[in-house]
């Protein structure tokens, strides 16, 4: 039986400001969903809320993974249940080597009951595995010894996110604009990488403005977000339409949500 990531009536505040105003979505393992929408519509907010960022407060609604309500859980508990977010802006952690960090992460995710200080996954086994994954992603093995995202180019950071995805094999992966800010070669590597990794065991939510990532990973569902709500859901053709025509027609069909989005955008610009 494939598991479901179920988002019901999700309301999320940042501080006092309501950003998400009732989001519903169901993602099954093996499915690919695209999430589109203009800037400031709340896509990243949804991604952070799903991953459990402490500054994104759920004020109503719920998030369930495979029937388990995770709405109140910390980010690490969610990760151990199979949630993964590829960050739009991966964080730099100086002095922490990629391999050390990933060895901890892999140990915890594969052995969710692991207590602190208990053994990590074997060094040799881990090394072999990370080397293979890096090879598949066309990454220089030297990166394993570098500090996490420290001095990485935009493309290297995004590749590092995909490497983590490959090592952690989550049940649900959210990719927040993993393809933006990359040159076309890098977009191809990332798109192919994701296509290879996703399969019947992974439900994927792709947040994107571009076509390329979706070409390699055709979505069964496309959702359009506007003003903190999903205003339309369709199939792959909806994504194509939006790429071709932009959001004007969507805005016209949903004037209220469009107005709220415009307000949020204006507020963010101040």
């Amino acid at each position: 039986m494939s598991a479901v990531l179920k988002i019901s009536n999700l309301h999320v505040n940042v501080g006092e400001t309501p950003i998400l105003k009732g989001v519903n979505m169901e993602i099954r393992q093996g499915e690919v969903h695209a999430l589109m929408g203009p800037n400031g519509s709340g896509k990243s907010t949804l991604a952070y809320a799903l991953a459990g960022h402490p500054n994104y407060t759920v004020t109503d609604g719920s998030i369930e993974i495979d029937g388990v309500n995770v709405t109140e859980m910390e980010a690490d508990e969610r990760a151990r249940l199979g949630m993964f977010l590829a960050f739009q802006y991966p964080v730099v952690i100086p002095g922490v080597k990629v391999a050390d960090f990933l060895r901890h992460a892999v140990s915890n995710i594969r052995n969710p009951d692991r207590k602190e200080g208990e053994g990590l996954i074997g060094m040799r086994e881990f090394r072999k595995e990370i080397r293979e994954r890096m090879n598949e992603l066309g990454m220089d093995p030297e990166f394993a010894r570098r500090y996490l995202n420290d001095g990485f180019s935009g493309g290297e950071k995004k590749r590092m996110e995909i490497l983590q995805l490959a090592m952690l094999q989550p049940r649900f992966a959210i990719l927040d604009e993993t393809d933006s800010g990359l040159d076309s070669d890098a977009v191809r590597v990332v798109s192919e990488g994701l296509a290879k990794l996703s399969g019947p065991q992974m439900g994927v939510l792709i947040i994107t403005h571009h076509e390329r990532l979706l070409e390699f990973n055709p979505p069964q569902f496309t959702h359009v977000m506007l003003g903190g709500r999903i205003v339309e859901t369709g199939d792959a053709s909806l994504a194509n339409e939006l790429h071709a025509n932009g959001y004007a027609t969507v805005r016209a069909r949903h004037p209220e949500a469009a107005a709220e989005n415009a307000k949020a955008e204006a507020a963010a610009a101040v």
Partner: protein
Amino acid sequence: MSTDTPVKNDVEFGSYKYGFHDSMDNYAFKSRKGLDAQIVRQISELKNEPAWMTEFRLESLAIFESRPMPNWGGDMTDLNFQDIFYYMKAANEQETSWEDVPEEIRRTYDRLGIPEAEKKYLSGVKAQYDSEVVYGSLQEDLSKQGVIFTDTDSALRDHPELFREYFGTVIPPGDNKFAALNSAVWSGGSFIYVPKGVKIEFPLQAYFRINSQNMGQFERTLIIVDEGAAIHYVEGCTAPTYSSNSLHSAVVEIIVKRGARCRYTTIQNWSSNVYNLVTKRAMAYGDSLMEWIDGNLGSKLTMKYPAIWLMEPGARGETLSIAFAGEGQHQDAGAKMVHCAPNTSSRIISKSISKSGGRSSYRGLVKVHKDAVNCRSNVVCDALILDPASRSDTYPYIEVEEENVAIEHEASVSKIAEEQLFYLMSRGLSEAEASAMIVTGFIEPLVKELPMEYAVELNRLIELQMEGSVG
């Protein structure tokens, strides 16, 4: 006073792990509490010092008394100078081998887990037990090369000319109130002389600790690195927890002559009731290199700004410091670089971590005198704040009297590590694992510079400090 006073706070976060102390009955001598000319005279007499030193101490006392308390830095309202013992002697004889060290003192060292570092360099190690060095033996080949490595009291007795030539020349008693205090009541500390061209290959180490309640420690260290010589001196420090305030006010003077190199590494981990008010200064001459590596953990208040005066062209100075301020702790630390000559360069790297309401401040000075052209100075300070209750400040002072200089100052301050924490936790690391990893990574540039055992020890101490963060 009872023996084996039960230890408070042993399990609370931020409290000191080595919460025990030895019986107070074994002190060979203990002065009465408080500070006045009579006590100062008594200290000097007990040590059989020459008249000039007695005079020096008394003049210093007068300076100390005439100076107001500093109105900057940290809160010293709880510090009562009359409630402190200024001199204690732990054992009558200075021991020369580990076996001869009194059982009780050895047990203390064992409990501190010191032997890891110590056994390796056993013959090179000097350990200070309260005010007097009770154990220390000089590695043979060092003395063959003419290196003097002894405690400062013995140096005054055994090398009077050399001692008098340099003592108090880098930090005169009038420098600041606490330097004056130290000059009046100093006891113990290390004296090192490295002759011309002698390069000591391994780090020389010393362990210091405060043992008695209300016991002030006023060690005085003097290091002279003669032309073309090289030394790496390492000093570690651990202290038991006590209920009332303790004062540590050391003075470290270093002279690095032409073409010489000196690296001075300290890791201090005072119990959370200690006032740690230290004056450290080095004078670096032509084409020499002076490096301070300074780690400050624990204490109630630390005020410490290792200084380097770049006296002649080509002199270089570097300070790498790290401060960890936990609950109830204030680390006011930094560095001073004084460019007195052309073509001198300096670098300051300062890292601080504040957690559980701790406060850390970087306070630094870069000064370039008139005509000191072509100087370069680079200052980088990073602060890591682990929770909203904690605090970090920077006070960078730059005084430049010369135009033709290059001074860079970068500060990345007040960065709450929230985003880093979330990133790691979203990959399945627990909060405790994630914060330990962030902190370890943050201090990595300093740890890399330490001798192996100290790197291990520092990481272990940080881990202990971090353990309390498990929510």
